[in-house]
Symmetry: C2
Subunit: 370 residues, 2 copies
């Protein structure tokens, strides 16, 4: 392997793939980044066996070849390179790579190339594409509702339910649920349910330059592959049957309010400061076009008033303040609608506008009446 | 206590004093911030008994009085206030404070005001002043050489040796030493040695708005007080005799080189990536107006060449790369001079120019020759 590149290309590349480097795995090879010099470009890859990322960038390749270098060393070194042309040359006998920059050089000992696990190829007929910016928006609207608890793997994923030309995207940790529907004109007869790990989607939206390109998605057995011009991301799928989300979404309401998302999110966060630690429960009262957020604990009291447009009965509820503010911030529109069916039924939070999106949040049952 | 203020004043004030809030002390009162409304201004204070900070800001005071509020709650609440006028009113019966902002209000339970330790007044004749920007520069040039290890308290402090109209400022952790001398025209006959905790100085340089005001310094028994128009910072002094720093500074050299501080700092940091973890030892060879930084470990090798102006013998040395780059970054001038007396004697690092500053760094003894 023998190629030259510039610092910015290299830095961008290692920053993208290092998201898949395994920091905890006992296999040393997984703490490496693989370099492959091909005709006119270099592909670098990392994987923790659950998630794999490749990134290709144009380079002047003098000799094709491969090497695997320790991710920590090469990433930190690239970050600290001066802004000059960088020369890479591997020694196929011992797997080491010599890197020249200006008057200086480093020789980094590598790992055996043949031990690095191959990322699977995008084979299979189950293919469709989605504009990067749409996928980014959709993920940011549902990801907050996934569970963090790895003991319930199903809830750490996001459901992509594809059928009849539409995609329903759903996440839930059983306390809250977020749902978005989009229409795609290229999914034809496709009829498939994918549960993609939240971690994969989190990394996917962070990958630089993703939003201005269409993403090609290929589904293989137990795996899903996302592909753009430069990025190739492969992830395991989560097995199992996602719960029937349709049956938990109420069809009716007794009270409906319209308000500014930011007003309620900020009031909830302030009120949470005086709530009990752990589960910051706040109370919400709606009446006479005023929504009141309140908390009353041994630390003190908060009472915030927000003007709303109210339809229907007066109501009182209690919520986890963090969950409420997560949901309000995820929507992305200035105004939102809250629909309530009863004190123990979930509240529905919707954007004002045409977007097919909602999240729902279970209230907290209050022990004492106050 | 009854006053009104705006969010920005309050936010600035709590951010300054919260540096002195005790997070670990078992006395709950030390986790509080004291508010004192006086005629035309409000003073807020925090202390962990080693360091105390007060900040005063103009406010419309309707009724004078005091209250102590939990620092965490009030700091986070102020950070999240909308940008409106904020009304504070205390209830002297129970020590709680009602805060009104827009249509909303919080009532925060406080601590007993009488339990809050008084910060000492700036009494005593030992007084002088120093321009804020000079003190900031001086601290940033020596603070890196203080020890972190609380078991050697003397070395966690910075010596201010004041006599004959000059101030020598010195820090050392016994592996390295930094010295700066400044002249002050207002210290007259003053003859005193102060050892000020590094933590105090670190907080001092972070206090907003410090650099554009002169700092008035008062020395009381075991304590030092720094005062500007708004800020009042009191700290314990460290007892003991600071080592005689003059005798460890070599007067002569066999080799002297001039180079760009940044070139050597960056080369050291890159080389350290391939050094052994823990104590990242790098080698330096000087000859023919070239300084070579090198490392050779099981992880690989680095060799960097830097053009220098060399006077005197060729030399080879080994250093802790982190210590070397700390010293080079602290100087603050583009070009520096390195003076070497021998392979086991400290190197001296000086700025090019008139500034009376130097730091010295002990080399590492190399076990094997290579």
């Amino acid at each position: 392997m023998n190629f030259t590149s510039d610092k910015e290309e290299l830095l961008n590349a290692v920053q993208v793939v290092q998201r898949a480097v395994s920091l905890k795995n006992p296999l040393p090879i997984l703490s490496g980044i693989k370099f492959e010099a091909e005709e006119g470009n270099v592909v670098i890859s990392a994987t923790d066996l659950e998630l794999g990322i490749s990134y290709s960038f144009p380079a002047e390749v003098i000799e094709q070849g491969k090497a695997v270098l320790p991710a920590k060393v090469i990433t930190e070194l690239v970050r600290r390179f001066p802004d000059v042309t960088i020369f890479f040359k591997s020694d196929p006998l011992n797997g080491s790579v010599t890197v020249k920059y200006g008057q200086s050089e480093a020789n980094i000992n590598g790992y055996p190339v043949e031990e690095f696990p191959e990322l699977p190829l995008p084979v299979g007929d189950t293919k469709f594409s989605i504009p990067g910016e749409i996928l980014k928006e959709v993920i940011s609207q549902v990801i907050f509702a996934t569970a963090r608890d790895e003991n319930r793997p199903l809830y750490t994923g996001v459901l992509f339910e594809i059928s009849n030309g539409e995609v329903n995207i759903v996440a839930t940790d059983t306390h809250r649920l977020a749902w978005r529907k989009i229409l795609l004109d290229n999914i034809g007869e496709l009829n498939i349910n994918l549960i993609i790990p939240g971690k994969t989607l989190n990394e996917l939206i962070k990958v630089a330059g993703l939003s201005d390109q269409p993403l090609e998605i290929t589904v293989a057995e137990n795996q899903v592959i996302f592909k753009t011009e430069n990025v190739y991301l492969v992830s395991r799928l989560i097995g199992g049957n996602f719960p029937n989300y349709r049956q938990v979404i109420p069809n009716d309401y007794v009270t409906r309010t319209r308000l500014k998302a930011r007003d309620l999110a900020e009031a909830s966060e302030r009120a949470a400061l005086l709530a009990r630690e752990g589960a910051p429960v706040i109370k919400i009262n709606i009446g006479d076009n005023i929504l009141v957020v309140s908390v009353n604990t041994e630390a003190g009291r908060v009472r915030e008033e927000i003007s709303v447009f109210q339809e229907g009965e007066d109501l009182r509820f209690a919520f986890n303040a963090r969950y409420l503010s997560d949901a309000l911030k995820a929507i992305g529109t200035e105004e939102v609608i809250l629909e309530f069916t009863g004190p123990l039924s979930p509240v529905i939070i919707k954007p004002v506008g045409e977007m097919e999106y909602l999240s729902l949040l279970l209230p907290v049952r209050l022990r004492e009446e106050s």
